[in-house]
Symmetry: C2
Subunit: 286 residues, 2 copies
């Protein structure tokens, strides 16, 4: 079977970019995989067999590629877009993996000019608390949803080809408007990460921090799993989606305040009602 | 092999009591298992083969038992202790499964008189977000720690026999002083449950509650798993350990306030430091 793409450039080859490469190779989606990342990541990814070659810079990686996947941390995205803008072949498509969509869409619109029509913003809803090329998994996107967030300028054929890429990696593809995406993911991912980091930080600074490590049960382990995620990466995500995340913070603080008040006055009925609201919702999660 | 106990009475046969019975049967720890619970639980447990017989009341269940396991919700414990106090055989031992230890130890001391020497408070660190006899599992305690919280009056031989019971169910046994237990479990279990209920309740009442169910990733699923737990059961636990849980709430609120402030003023360095404190601690969890 002919691969969907001849040359795919992956910019950023950590957990997500590395897994894009691994899945693209395992499923024959790309004939050639080139990677770029600052530091040792690209060399490590090549040594791990995730990519065929490590380019010395983003421009060289993008040159001659028919698909460029931006999989770098959010603060690096704008610079990468500027570096690849002059190298895009006339048929080249660009997609990304960022957890926030408003800022990268704005950066792409500004950097790519007319080629913005061939930029298809994407968010694969997949991840892990690990990071770096060595944590890449060819099955990371299996059965996961990848949301595409096209804009009015987006070329429908480009969108279809990029959808084919993500489907080729094992994901199911759905579509969502940028603002709605960022609001939804503030609620179900960005704020929950911030809340779990906060829970862990409070335990880590409490008097029981050592015993907590020894006696934690499966519940705490699951609850705090995402608290092992990269601090810098998630600081950048919540900052990039700050307004929506602050909205979630305020709603959470209101609920927290009411719950702690009920606990303080020993109001069992109020506590049961609040916990029941939570529990009823959670039991509906498939 | 002779079973360790001839007749074990399990009072309360939900997830924990039912699993005690299932494990005791599967591992040949008890020759006879009798259960009591209000409502249909005991009949259901018998139908599921967890217990040999369902007693009509706690006193009948305790009569002739050489071990009585209190596995009821916290508010029921005091009443059960009063009902079995007059029925204890001279060699009968009593243990329990409550997540808080201060109040049940006080209730047992007051209800059992001299027989309090044969009460060995226990907390098996095992559980699930499910409840009821049908969710019982014979392997629930496999490899888990059961903490014993003896008091000065506790008969060492009684403690040794009860330790043998829990070991017989597959658990590893450790010992901890009551106050320290309740403080530690406020930190690593009771408060985290309250915090996760709060996170879920805020999502459930937010504008994205429906889409959240559809697009939640593995991270949110794990983070919120314990949010599906029984609202009433956990309201009773946090109320029973109220002072320690309120201490945790205040420490959490301080950390939350500082984190939200840092986010609000766009202070990346402060956010990274706070998240890193969390992440460093969490990565040490085995």
């Amino acid at each position: 079977m002919t691969p969907l793409f001849q040359r795919v450039a992956v910019l950023g080859v950590g957990l997500i970019g590395g897994s894009v490469a691994a899945a693209a190779r395992a499923r024959g989606v790309a004939a050639e995989l080139v990677g770029y990342a600052p530091g040792d990541d690209a060399r490590d990814a090549q040594a791990l067999g995730l990519i065929d070659s490590a380019a010395p810079d983003a421009a060289s990686a993008a040159r001659g590629a028919d698909l460029i996947v931006l999989a770098a941390p959010i603060p690096a995205m704008q610079g990468l877009l500027a570096q690849i803008a002059g190298e895009l072949a006339p048929h080249a498509l660009v997609t990304d993996t960022a957890s926030t969509k408003r800022s990268i869409v704005a950066a792409a619109r500004s950097a790519l000019g007319p080629a913005f029509a061939r930029f298809v913003a994407a968010h694969p809803i997949a991840g892990a608390e690990t990071h770096g090329p060595a944590s890449s998994r060819a099955d990371l996107f299996d059965g996961c949803i990848t949301l595409l967030c096209p804009e009015p300028e987006t070329d429908p054929q480009a969108q279809e080809r990029v959808a084919g890429f993500w489907t080729g990696l094992g994901a199911r593809v759905a579509q969502m408007e940028v603002q709605r995406h960022d609001r939804l993911f503030a609620e179900i991912s960005h704020w929950p990460h911030a809340a779990v980091f906060t829970l862990c930080a409070a335990i880590a600074q409490g008097s029981q921090a050592q015993d907590a490590l020894r006696f934690a049960g499966a519940g705490l382990r699951d609850t705090t799993r995402i608290g092992a995620s990269s601090a810098a990466l998630w600081a950048d995500i919540v900052l990039d989606n700050r307004d929506a995340v602050l909205d979630c913070a305020r709603a959470f603080e209101r609920e927290l305040h009411a719950m702690v008040e009920a606990l303080g006055r020993g109001d069992r009925q109020a506590l049961v009602e609040r916990f029941e609201t939570a529990s009823r919702w959670r039991r509906r999660l498939p």
